[in-house]
Symmetry: C2
Subunit: 455 residues, 2 copies
């Protein structure tokens, strides 16, 4: 924990960050940064709606329903109306439970879960314009990612699920911005948040992983609400000797938090997953789909598949015989098989039925992978041997969804539609998608939230 500070502690880290958030004006953000915040919202909303019937969400609502407050905000995709603080939890769980949400690759934070879950719930209770909402979202993502940068990777190696442990600050800052906190109140909001990091990596593979962004949203929201009424905290919650960064990490680089505020935008580095599985498999899936489409491949024409992959692929996703859908997300073999058969790797390709499908299993068992230390994490080499003995192959230099090959707006719209249509139907999905693209012009976010529920 403390010790090993890689740079000296600047004075007033928490206050510097608070002052930036309090004084920031929507017009200060370059248009591309605001537009990227819109993409972040659209991707998050698609995930939250798409997974709204997951059993983790069902269970959380059932367990807490006796204690829920006034009907102020929506459980997205479902339409139950609950109090703002519980809505933040349920939507935070829902948005992460498919592991399909956004990623700040430098810190592996999934930034939208804690922030958007908190501020959309608040915006249904206390009117917020699209411009202010987009601004608050961008600021919240900026805050959590900068704080994440200051402690990553050590904080993550210690065992913290950084989405929940740093996410509390993003939620506190974004809610605090919408509440109009002054500088001292924002310092307190960040300070109260600093006492509530959520989540250990040990929870990966359980429902509690998705609880983390939901609870982080609640913790930051609660912190900002308390601070708005004068609930006091440390003035140096982030950087004090026994504050958040020293207690939860062996590395603290505070310049990542305080330098270039308003100039360097971490929120614009947020990335989106085209495939509903661990990001290290994405190059292989990208290559498989491209070969499928270029050569009109189908499973019956394929004798075997040979992959050369980055070492992390087999370390994290080397599962040979997944038994349930969730395990399929940790199998490069299953993922390549469904990519060839279906031409996609969305949530449907990771159902329990999908991993037990005989045709998929047959193709999966013909996939082999070897490590190639020379590859970057977003690269793969894939060669497919056909039943006639010929070989087609492809080198993926930057997988789709990576920093150098981001998803286009059309890609995001297609992903959104795939996720949302099964829940809301085609017409309402199209309406909601249009509302998302027009987010900055929305007069009242409550209208967007309403569209994200059944008519």
């Amino acid at each position: 924990m403390s010790g090993q500070a890689s740079t000296p502690v600047p004075a007033n880290v928490t206050r510097t960050l608070a002052r930036y958030v309090v004084n920031a004006q929507p017009g200060d953000l370059p248009a591309p940064v605001r537009e990227h915040a819109v993409r972040t919202f659209l991707n998050w909303l698609g995930c939250a709606v798409g997974s709204c019937r997951h059993e983790a969400v069902d269970i959380a609502i059932k367990a807490l329903s006796p204690f829920i407050g006034p009907a102020q905000a929506s459980v997205l995709g479902r339409g139950e109306r609950v109090d703002v603080i519980n809505a933040a939890l349920f939507n935070g769980i829902s948005s992460h439970v498919f592991d399909f949400d956004d990623t700040h690759l430098k810190t592996v934070i999934h930034p939208a879960g804690p922030v958007a879950s908190a501020i959309l719930a608040l915006a249904e209770y206390r009117p917020v314009s699209g411009a202010d909402f987009v601004h608050a979202l961008a600021l919240g993502v900026e805050v959590e990612c900068r704080i994440g940068n200051a402690v990553y990777p050590d904080h993550y190696h210690v065992g913290w699920h950084i989405t929940g442990s740093a996410g509390v600050f993003g939620a506190a800052a974004a809610v605090g911005k919408l509440l109009g906190l002054d500088e001292q109140q924002m310092v307190w909001a960040l300070g109260i948040a600093s006492s509530q990091p959520v989540g250990m990596r040990e929870q990966f593979g359980t429902m509690t992983k998705s609880f983390h962004p939901g609870r982080a949203a609640q913790n930051g929201l609660t912190a900002a609400l308390l601070a708005s009424q004068g609930y006091t905290s440390s003035q140096q919650g982030i950087e004090a000797k026994r504050g958040w960064a020293n207690v939860t990490s062996t590395k603290q680089d505070y310049s990542e938090i305080t330098e270039g505020l308003g100039e360097r935008h971490e929120s614009a580095l947020n990335s989106f997953k085209p495939f509903a599985c661990g990001i290290v498999i994405h190059p292989a899936i990208d290559g498989a789909i491209q070969l499928r489409n270029e050569y009109g491949l189908s499973a019956d024409k394929i004798a075997s598949v040979q992959l050369r992959v980055h070492p992390l692929v087999l370390e994290l996703t080397g599962k040979r015989t997944p038994k349930v859908g969730l395990e399929g997300k940790f199998s490069v073999f299953h993922s390549v098989a469904v990519a060839i058969i279906d031409g996609r790797a969305g949530e449907n390709q990771y159902s329990d039925a999908a991993v037990l499908d005989p045709a998929t299993i047959k193709l999966r068992d013909s996939v082999d992978a070897v490590i190639d230390e020379a590859l970057e994490p977003d690269q793969v080499h894939i060669a497919i041997t056909l039943t006639d003995g010929s070989v087609v192959e492809k080198f993926i230099e930057h997988a789709i969804g990576s920093k150098d090959h981001p998803m286009t707006n059309d890609d995001l719209a297609a992903k959104f539609t795939d996720l949302v249509v099964p829940v809301l139907g085609e017409a309402r999905t199209a309406q909601l998608l249009a509302a998302c693209w027009g987010l900055e012009q929305a007069p009242d976010l409550a209208e967007v939230a309403k569209l994200a529920c059944p008519a």
Copy 2:
């Protein structure tokens, strides 16, 4: 963080603890352990009622009131009815804000705050008998103190406010016991709790310190509620490589958690403060009150006071000129002065007015203290020089409230009465006190909670 495990990890730490809690029967606990749980409750309730009008409680209620659920449980001493989960927060804040609650001296955990705040709120919603309540309280305290033992002192030195960071487990276990969780559900409850440690020591001196036991109560309560409906978590939330103990501490001695369950009772070691201030000043106050009473001293007869104190006294409580009441709690000089003048050191002696009282300041300025390395933390030597030149003195071997000189039931009743009468009046205070002493026989805890509010 990981590394430095002082003993090998036994298999199934979390499961062993869960199994013990699930299978424990009220009759298994020796009568003295049950009676000590009653004292723990009485002391906690007096603190919660006594501080119910503190501004930290006012602010928290004001900030969260728009979001509160059904009228299920009481804000103690005040009578507002709120949902169970919010009641746990407000009562947890209230019970700690005077720094007058119980202490497990081996870990400096204040055990009742997280546990009693959660289960009393639940018991107002879901009927619980006194016998079951006392049992759940003892089990919850046992769980958090054992987990605290496993990581103390390293965990505390890292910067965690152990009351909040270990308290989540106590709340989860006690609530889980009252909900009748089975072994797997209890493992999940502890697992979900393990992802939600609350509180850094940096918050000491701010309202967020009192937020910690309240939030810990909510976190453990929420964990148990979720687990009761099948919300899954890690099976090894406490001991896994990236679980709670490795992530939050450099020391892990799991035998403290798993050995002697049902035989060695940490809950029986809980202690109670006779004075409303930092525990290191207690020997000096004890000595001052004893000399006052034995010699009929008053301020006008005193020329000076000389103390020989344990080194921590001046490190933690050496404040010479406190300006507000809270600072008085960190001044051995003020504390000795009020002890001589009033014969006590309750909350009234630490008001803003008390530290600014001219007679108190005059006496305070005549108090001097020097360090004596040979003294134990519960010892002091006090000598009072009178205006006639004579000297009276006393050596306190074990201060009242220490392990070797615990407060008697009469002492606890007097403390309780001092705290509660200003809130509830004499008649109702007497009724409530009687209900506390009869706790094990109470048919329904809701009746006790009702008595703890204005008629």
